[in-house]
Symmetry: C2
Subunit: 464 residues, 2 copies
């Protein structure tokens, strides 16, 4: 669907000259996300308010062109990539924190607010917004909602969906809707709020968000523990849960991840270790002290060889450094990676770890895993060189085997990254025909002309 | 739509002779809920498994008769009343707790499990399912999901929706679907789980539920505090929140409620008090001790005249007695009541309380309010004699004024009771035309023939 010059001119009029472009250099900046795939849009537009979003979508409905909403483009499954061309609707200029209401523990924000900026703003007021995706330094709240982002604190605090009370959104038809409430409770009509959350920008464009906040925990303590094997680390996680301690974070790194991070950072990480856990507890000061000591004793009793508790904020950041460096560090193993986001029941982590080792041995490819052990959420990275057809073939087979085993264990193929384009080919493994039919019909209810973010979730266009 | 004898016979064959009836005495038991309205169904059927539910709904689709799912019938807005006749599908015989998985903090249950029984079962294993609607001694988990029940612990722990990971449900067409996941995270496809939750049995019949559990808090402390005025009590609630203490419960009773409870119980409640707060904290023992002391000091500094901390389980139950007795005790004021379930931003509670006093003065009717101050969720009871046309007229005007003011304050007309039939006439006050259009289209996607739970949410059939 080519967009006529007349329509492009109209788009420019809606947003203003400085908020619209068809320049190739500009378009190239909005052609990709964290999946490293690349599709040029026909235009990019930067709306400043919901009225402009409405005008753009009305025009798209009338003139039949595609609109692809986008936050910071930090998505991991291609949700904001214009795979069929069209106009990329960049929401980053709608980035105001409208109000932080300390009396009611609620905030009103625009979707372009950067997650990390929002954390800072609320924490200054003694409040806390727990969802903390790894990309929070640049990801936007709107994007977090579109994908229902998780992050390391989900084990105690839940995911993005659990902190959204209400939304303003623009339908593909251009109509502006309001969903949900501005209060702690509300059950009037169907839950359109949570239908939009995690719908990956395919049902509507979020233009305002009402978020629930909680008091900032008084104290946080961070600890790492080194284990001989991933099994020992996983057994420790099970034991933590059995003892009814809920840390806010239970992260893990496997041997391959530890080695990558060490090659990258050179900070003396134990290269021979089977796994490392990073545990974080928060709450009232006395409880935090008690809990971290309990965790230390527990880890040592489970055979941990080295337990380190951070005594200062600097030490705390050091402990996080290894975990945070894994993603870039992995490129030491191979030039390309397939980054997955499976979830298995917590007590099935050892099974999955063994499977990943088997797949690595069988294919000869490096597989590294790390992630959120407290949720059973494992980021498996299949490292490869995409220029080697043999690699690609083996990686694809490994991926398929990985997904099949995940579902066999009672898990899901996406914990917090969505389906986008990279998992669309696999969705029928997890979602049945009738359920997919319902979802597609819901899509048609919201977007009868199919103009909003086409080619995502249901349609397998692009192989990963 | 009369149901032919042939179809009735078929229904009996599906469920078996002991699980089906068209006897008037039996039908009368399933003609009402807690709204005290009354509509006889054509038949009642008690399925034993999802295959039977599927067969019943397939038959209903084929032969065009209405099916009305029902749990314990404790709903407050008529959600399970067969207002257009049809077959009441009573889910109480699907009441098995299938598994409590302590390793993964997950339970699998059938919808007919009584909420209170489930509490006992998980607490025996050291686990906790926080949602605790007032009717938990007899309400079912399926009904709780259908209405997205809340209860007093929502202030800290959230509502039913926050504890559901996945569902099995039967569509009106008879197809069995699975939604969501069995893991802590999952974002594959649209959120059908939360679309079904709170849909009041209009989209599908829930046949199995996967619930998230948390560790049972080590310790609980309960306290009551008596205030001169509702304003003083409300200001105390605001101060509690400002000090970043989150009790699991912040309940309140106004003067009218206190007096009713005292007349009913005769336990020496302070008849002259403007309001009473019931506060409950839970967590690690030391924190609980510290928090309850902080709350005591805070209440006293805000002018509380009497602060009582329960020292034993018996004393704790005594403190709850007054709060729990209000609902039946209110009938001392008048033979009928309209029980509302509004929510306002927490710091707007004093405004609403003044409004309620005004409405009482203006109409001459008794209005009593109590509820969940920590959520801003106020159960306003308009007491009347339905045989007096004057009462009915005044009560209806008061109700309308109450809803209008609730929405003016940024609130919602239903916090945890749903819309059902009693609020259907008011839904357009809160939900816009476009949003209602989306909801109705979603209803059509799930239930193209409109056979499941007709006359609810969207259609105003019956005046309250």
């Amino acid at each position: 669907m080519a967009i006529s010059r007349k329509v492009l001119k109209k788009l420019q009029e809606i947003a203003g000259r400085d908020n619209f472009s068809t320049e190739r250099e500009e378009l190239a900046c909005y052609a990709y996300d964290a999946t490293a795939q690349h599709f040029l849009p026909d235009a990019v537009i930067f709306p400043k308010n919901s009225m402009e979003v409405s005008a753009i979508l009305s025009l798209a409905s009338e003139k039949n062109f595609f609109v692809i909403p986008r936050g910071a483009g930090s998505g991991m499954t291609g949700g904001s990539i214009p795979v069929k061309g069209g106009v990329v609707l960049v929401m980053t200029r709608m980035n105001k924190i409208l109000e932080i209401d300390c009396d009611n523990l609620i905030a009103y924000v625009e979707p372009g607010v950067i997650t990390g900026h929002f954390h800072e703003a609320v924490e200054k007021k003694g409040l806390f917004y727990p969802p903390d995706p790894a990309s929070s330094d640049f990801s936007t709240l709107g994007g977090n909602l579109a994908e229902c982002a998780g992050g390391p604190r989900a084990v105690k605090y839940g995911v993005t969906r659990d902190y959204v009370l209400g939304l303003e959104a623009v339908l593909p038809t251009g109509e502006i809707i309001k969903t949900g409430v501005q209060t702690a409770k509300g059950v009037v009509g169907y839950d359109l709020t949570r239908l939009l959350i995690g719908s990956e920008g395919t049902l509507g464009v979020i233009t305002q968000i009402t978020l629930r906040l909680i008091p900032l925990p008084q104290s946080v303590k961070t600890m790492t523990a080194v284990f001989k094997s991933m099994e020992a680390a996983a057994e420790t996680v099970s034991e933590i849960i059995r003892q009814a301690i809920i840390p806010r974070t239970i992260e893990f790194m496997d041997n391959a991840s530890i080695n990558c991070a060490e090659s990258y950072l050179g900070i003396g990480l134990p290269r021979e270790a089977g796994a490392m856990l990073l545990l974080e507890v928060d709450g009232e000061e006395h409880t935090v002290e008690t809990d971290i000591e309990k965790l230390k004793v527990l880890c040592l009793s489970q055979g941990a060889s080295d337990v380190t508790i951070a005594l200062s904020e600097v030490e705390r950041e050091n402990l996080w450094k290894a975990r945070k460096s894994i993603s870039p560090a992995l490129y030491r193993l191979a030039p390309d990676k397939i980054n997955e986001d499976i979830v298995v029941p917590k007590n099935k982590i050892p099974h999955m770890v063994r499977k990943i080792e088997n797949l690595s041995n069988k294919t000869g490819l490096s597989l590294a895993s790390f992630g959120h052990a407290g949720d059973g959420n494992i980021h498996v990275n299949i490292m490869l060189d995409k220029n080697q057809p043999d690699h690609v073939r083996k990686a694809e087979a490994a991926l398929e085997a990985l997904f099949d085993y995940t579902l066999e264990l009672g898990g899901t193929i996406s914990g917090e990254h969505g389906v986008g384009i990279t998992k669309a080919a696999f969705i029928t493994k997890e979602i049945g025909k009738v359920e997919l039919g319902l979802m597609k019909s819901i899509k048609t209810v919201f977007d009868p002309k199919g103009i909003l973010n086409p080619g995502k979730i249901f349609e397998s266009l692009v192989k990963s």
